[in-house]
Subunit: 371 residues, 2 copies
């Protein structure tokens, strides 16, 4: 059935080229939809944990503001777009570029926001997560997981493939916690939106969470929903449900870095049958990051899941805020990698990294002028 498929220079692959080519060929020129699950965990307000927001308090606005940017073109719940310290714009700018170039639909899911976004979103009954140091961080996990599943199944009816992604500050810490509770990781390999990844602090917070929950590393290897309930965040439960619901029938791009790795691990434990429909999609920035190891994490989860990344490069930008991406800031988020891969695939490669870069430059210029 399958003919050799040429991977375009805009995309890079970690692992088996053959598996990745086969997966890409099934979404090439097909109709996709982008989804982004936005949420909050109070974990992000622990000083030093998250740079996804200019201050610890502002991190709670990051998810909803990103959702507003994607659907409305500008943030409504705050006066500017989410920025990391140093005026580095949210990766939603790249997601916007991918959506505008490809004209894909964009569905926002409220995965539990402290502040609800002021745009149409899917409600799945989720509320924001508590600090994982409480050892009891997510409410009604089962309900939001099941609703996620219904939603994923429904989206699979109307689309050839979908992208699942997230915007939740503090999410790499909750990802680390779930991966450790499941025993996938015994040490901190996860990423950060800051180049000086606060690894010690994250490990410390995670250990405090595990202790408060009364569990040790690997105790919840077969109960990922319990791991999420104790030390995860609500976005994880919703996205794990969506992944299982969608990937039963259609290829599903998990757009993101270590956060999506945790969800892939959880979903595969709950339903191994979806393996062949999962594509992990991220950016060159994350794969090349010296301070985290997405490839190592995925090797431990499942070597059959293709890890695909965009070769986007901001080094020639005249804007300092964009060039910062080349120095280890941000790396992925708001499905910027997954949406770029989807845009490239749905357009049969007509959209490439140059087009995405030019569009991001225009979007960033307009944003600077608006705010």
């Amino acid at each position: 059935m399958w003919k050799e498929f040429e991977i375009p220079p805009s995309l890079g692959i970690y692992g088996s080229k053959e598996t990745a080519s086969e997966a890409l060929s099934r979404i090439w020129g097909k109709r996709g939809a982008f989804t982004c699950t936005v949420a909050s965990t109070l974990t992000s307000t622990i000083p030093g944990i998250s740079d996804a927001g200019n201050t610890p308090e502002l991190t709670l606005f990051t998810g909803p503001a990103d959702a507003e940017i994607l659907l409305h073109g500008k943030a409504l719940c705050m006066n500017e777009i989410p920025i990391n310290p140093g005026n580095i714009p949210t990766p939603a700018t790249l997601t916007m570029a991918a959506l505008q170039l490809s004209d894909m639909p964009c569905y926002i899911i409220n995965g539990g926001c402290k502040i609800a976004p002021q745009i149409p979103f899917f409600d799945v009954g989720a509320t924001y997560g508590e600090k994982i140091t409480t050892g009891q961080s997510v409410k009604n996990v089962k309900e939001i997981f099941e609703k996620g599943k219904i939603l994923g199944k429904n989206l699979a009816k109307g689309n050839d493939f979908i992208v699942i992604s997230e915007s939740i500050a503090g999410g790499t810490t909750t990802a680390l916690a779930v991966l450790m509770a499941m025993g996938v990781l015994k040490e901190n390999l996860v990423s950060s939106s800051s180049p000086k990844n606060p690894k010690k602090l994250k490990t410390c917070v995670v250990n405090e969470g595990l202790k408060a929950a009364g569990i040790k590393i690997g105790d919840l290897i077969h109960d990922p929903l319990k791991a999420i309930e104790y030390v995860g965040d609500p976005m994880q439960a919703v996205n794990a449900g969506m992944l299982i619901g969608a990937a039963k029938t259609i290829p599903t791009i998990m757009g993101g870095g270590t956060q999506m790795a945790a969800i892939i691990a959880a979903a595969l434990e709950l339903d191994p049958s979806i393996e062949g429909n999962i594509l992990h999609g991220t950016t060159r920035w994350l794969v090349e990051d010296k301070y985290s190891d997405i490839c190592g994490i995925m090797d431990r989860i499942n070597r059959n899941i293709p890890l695909i990344y965009t070769n986007i490069n901001y080094s020639t930008s005249q804007y300092e805020g964009l060039r910062a991406y080349e120095n280890g800031f941000i790396k992925d988020g708001v499905g910027c990698g997954g949406s770029s891969i989807a845009a490239i695939a749905t357009s049969s490669g007509r959209i490439d990294c140059d087009a995405l870069f030019n569009k991001v430059q225009n979007i960033y210029r307009d944003i600077i002028n608006v705010y």
Copy 2:
């Protein structure tokens, strides 16, 4: 460009066959999505106004329960499916049949429910409507209209056509009120889910609403959003927005009877450019109804909008609850007509009225066994 298109016997047309054929040919074999906006107006609790629910209080559960049936297969917010007095099942049974046969995706929009449905739904910030006798029945009309527009525009990106529909008890009374405030109707031509349409009571309630709002018939001819705010319901504002958002680019089936007529009138006043993309879709039961006049209403609104209906017939059913449809009960609702037309069109006519009838029989049999 357009070749002659044969209308199948499962479909009937009121008005120009040429216009209807041309419209149908544009959605034939194409990929569609079904949407249903569920909501509540306290108007339905005025005794005698609505039969969409076994008692006046139960009418507030009808919208959310219909939404749950469509996505979950059974009602969650109440112990049985919505029924009209006399054990006549909700028209959602026919909608389910159309969705199951066609495998179309189904998106629920919370257009302002008193009780939120326990399934994933689009939140557009709507709250339930007050009694129209207050003369101030819908809050934040502008906001929910604008969010509806964003949603419609977004759905238009991922689908070749969509169906817009409703489940709101008391909705024909609010439709009459808006049509009178806009001056489209000067008398009561609207439908009812009961064969003994309580026309006098409805007219009386509408007149009380107009008086409370300080307006006369036709005063708001050019301000439909004001008409909705004063004497309408929140579903109308959301669906008018969705219609304008979607029909800017894709054919849009307005699935329903007089309620959809009011929304078509409102949307055309706000944006006449969408005319060519509107299809009005209903059932033979409504078109043949002796106690209302959907054809007369549409003649007054716009003769260019094709009115298409399914020739579905329940007269040979062994179930009394279904045969009642042939005696003037229910007639349309929950987009049962629109979804049937969409199922027929998306399958290029492979699905027909016989198939729909057989599926409804199975669904009804299962429901009787479950509850």
